[in-house]
Amino acid sequence: MTRAHRIIASVALGLLAAGGCTPATPVGPPPQSFGTSVFAAQVTKHPNEAIDVVLAPDDDYGDMNDLTARQAFVDQVGILITSGFGMNQAWNLNSDEVNFWYMTLSGDVQPGTGTCPSVTWPSLTDAAFAEVIVLLHPNPLRDCAWGDRVTSEPTSFTTIVHEASHAVFGLPDEYCCDGGYWNAPPIVYSTEANCLNDANNSAWRQCQSIPSVTGTTWWRSEDSTCDIMACGGSVVMEYGPGDWAIVEQVFSGLPNASISAPSVFAPNTWP
């Protein structure tokens, strides 16, 4: 046996002895006497210092007392955090200011008789601290969002980040003409004069009207730039500079926040 072979053999035996090749097998606690139904997925701060996103399972994910079913759901949550929120630079760079939690109580989302699905929400008492609650369901259907509550397939990354931006940061829609609009300087204004005269949007100002179907005309300071609040699609887009101004303002309201500004704004992409 050559010296090289001896080294290889000893390394292999060492790895075996160290157990370094044993895949991790989750060993769960006994079924729940939880006391709460909200648990940490990716948590960096105390809830009173962070934006808290709570992700609830549809009952199609199975019994959350069962570790295998729970892990399957949590895996989806992990993918959503990485491939959804993690793909928007503002969320990514400020991930220390955001907590992601998951619920062990299940809801149910089924196709409805009208425009929206029929939704049975789990008890959300334990999630009262959340800025947004997303009920994830594996069955494809046309979803709706009400205030801070959203239903979605787990891989509708753009939709989820867009809806979370409404709920968490109060960002209005920025496309024409049947979105939700409100006065939100320095991005959306109720008059053209206000848009043109706001010094806070001077760095990017290109005021464009949004004639709403309700008859009101709104003004957007970012022209027709495609950003996450303006355009759909499969790619999670960035915020525009006006959106970031509001996002930063909300982040700055968190105690002990350390905020990082994006280096990229829509329509440019990151990473």
Partner: protein, 187 residues
């Protein structure tokens, strides 16, 4: 003897490759987040409270709010959402007997955002003439200091006060707006 050594070494090398492959694949299969950890969301150690309200809103065909009813309202221990500096179509105002202590925006609850599916815009909207919605309000600051809230106001997108309630002895008591307090406190 040399041949045997070489064979043993080759077998060990192949074994090492297999083990490395197993390790890599095993790592790939490891969950990003372990569901076994079950780290619960914390509950406050102090006495901070939240107000949890469910409203029923009725509007007319012109989009004007014509009725607001508090279906449920409770003061509970717990953490609230962080709402400071958040804009919105509607406005929630919290006031103490002497001053406004917090004002923040919420989306117009009558506007349901409907997934478009067309790919060009994120969603369309549907306006509901009858809707129920929930809102959770902080009654303490993030450090847990009581804000001294004695009144809750809700303003629609026009700035019109459409709901007022007082907080008395741990209860939320709705009032007709004109019978409550003057416009100097909430407007």
């Amino acid at each position: 003897m040399r041949k045997a050594s070489r064979t043993i070494g080759t077998i060990a090398f192949l074994l090492l490759l297999v083990l490395i492959g197993w390790w890599v694949v095993g790592r790939g299969r490891q969950p990003m987040i372990s569901a076994a950890a079950l780290t619960p969301a914390p509950t406050p150690a102090d006495n901070r409270q939240i107000a949890s309200l469910t409203f029923s809103i009725t509007s007319n065909g012109a989009g004007e709010v014509i009725g607001v009813t508090m279906v449920e309202g409770a003061i509970l221990p717990g953490y609230a959402p962080n709402v400071l500096h958040r804009p919105g179509a509607w406005t929630v105002v919290l006031a103490s007997p002497t001053q406004e202590v917090l004002r923040f925006g919420i989306p117009d609850p009558r506007l349901v955002r409907v997934e478009g599916g067309a790919g060009d815009v994120p969603h369309t909207s549907t306006f509901l003439l009858e809707v129920e919605f929930d809102v959770t309000l902080p009654l303490a600051d993030p450090q847990g200091n009581d804000l001294g809230v004695t009144a809750i106001g809700l303003l629609d997108e026009t700035g019109r006060l459409i709901f007022v309630a007082s907080l008395r002895e741990g209860e939320i008591v709705p009032f007709p707006p004109r019978e409550f307090f003057g416009p100097a406190l909430i407007q």
